[in-house]
Amino acid sequence: MPLAYLLRRVAFMIFVVWSAITLLFFLPRLSPINPVRERFAELQRSTGWAPRDLERLVKVYEVKFGLNKPLHEQYVDYMSSLLRGDLGYSIMRYPRTVGDLIAQALPWTIGLLSVTTLLTFGIGTGIGALAAWPRSPQWVKGLVTPLVVLAAIPPYLLGLLLIYFIAFRAKLLPMGGAYTLGRFTGPELSFPFLLDVARHAILPALSLILSTVGFWALGMRGMGVTVQGEDYVTFAEHKGLSLRRIFYAYYVRNAILPQVTALALAFGSIVSSGILVEYLYGFPGLGSLLNAAILANDFFVIYGIGLITILAVAVSMMVVDLLYPLLDPRIRYTRA
């Protein structure tokens, strides 16, 4: 790989990340919400915490969070502390730091969502490919529509239905949480714990899979249709290759290219895609954290999670860009 290209691409990625962070920094500040005051107000509502002179206190904390400074100074502060790896304090959970909150939530999200994303991708793409494959039985071809229809049900509602029928009525699986509370005080590396986590993860994973698998199937089916009838597929048949080999190497292999890009993006956006499901199942991942942060207008946590997502997406897009020519040799770096 030409070093020059690699450097260019990395530079571009850094530029993208910087732009996104900048945008993310300024956008919430355009909104009229004052997170500190909202935080205190929320405290008042929920706990009766009620200092008489709230406004003065708001000022004090604005200073603590640096929110009193002119915007450009805040920006410089924020950027320089980012470079030091310091994500600052959470407003809603002051004096906890954003870094700590994220460190705690991240493994859960990665665990649940990377597995489900891969599963969904595999299942959806597989079904989509089969649906466009001329030799599939009729019922397989018809499979995409019901999957798409499943995706039509809002994930939140789908989750509720699953909880109601599978966990509540049939009592097959737990109704939520990441592990059996009370039985385990916190994450530990033991077999019973992992088993327990897996049991808890089934329903959230299922809701995610059911509500997104249709999109993958739909996308793949679309690409499969265009690849169909290409001469190289025909020639592969002339060669007497097994259907399986034709299917994988000459059909799926060619049709899947755009899906791979989508997968990279999906990986980047697992945080926001899982937000509702994580929330519904009380799954302690980044999605729940983000949800809480949005509800509390906690800028700094939003930035922190935003930053993670931005990095994840930017890096995965870069990786896809760098790897794409390996998948599709017709595309060359020189023109990328």
Binding site: A20, Q228, T261, A262, I310, I331
Partner: protein
Amino acid sequence: MAIALDPQAPLIAQPSRWTLVLRYLRRNPSLPLGLVLLIFLVGFGVIGSLLIDTSTRAYPLAAPPVQPPSAEYPLGTDRDGRDLLAVMVRGVLLTGAVGLMAGTVGIVVGTTVGFVAGYFGGWVDAVIRWLTEVLMTIPPLVLQVIIASTIVDKNKVTIFTMAGVASVLAWMGTARMVRAQVLSLRERAFVNMARLSGMSNLEIIFRELMPNMLPYLAASFVGAVMGAIGASFGLEALGLGPVREPTIGMTIRWAVYHSAIFNQWWWWVLWPVLALILIFASLALINRGLDELANPRVRRTE
């Protein structure tokens, strides 16, 4: 020396356009099925609005609370006393409109941007790529919430603003994919041929490349509409939607809020879900029915 045609050679009549259309529909039954569904839904909304005074019946206090379906309230009523038949009539139209508006904006912008970037390359591509990547990296929900929350006067939140917010982020995925496709398509000889035929860049994009991406675009469109409806649900869930309007999303939202499933008020959940299912089923079927148009090679026997 000219090659003269044999005057005696019999002329072959091409079947008429309509015959061809009919044959197409017969070969691809999912298209008419999808269309019929769509027409049914639109008809349900339009005719329903004519027959029922949705401006009162789709709002609270129009009927006694939580009535199961009956002769008087064919689809039942909800906890706030909305007549669910009226709610569905209006909801299908409103939600359909939000989805369509946002989906269309998303797909149109995404496709255009993707094509422009992929086809022209150079700095145009660089700028577009930068913009899409930047917007794509930011968690969409965060952006939407921020945008929506800057709309200070919630009275002014209509389904239009919601569609607007939902569509702001609906185009990047499409744009990126389209760009990738264009990169590989534009190397094809028929693009060169089109250029020799005097087509402008824009025409090459829209007349030569675009049709070849139809199946993808159709899938994308279905995805965009769904995405937009999903996004509108998200906004509604956060109280950033037109709270009073009986969209399908709000209806589901209220049903969830009042634990309709647990309380076994099945009708309150069933109808909106059914409506969504029908909307998406019709889109998916239409999408499927367009295969042959997009790739004539997949055509099956009569």
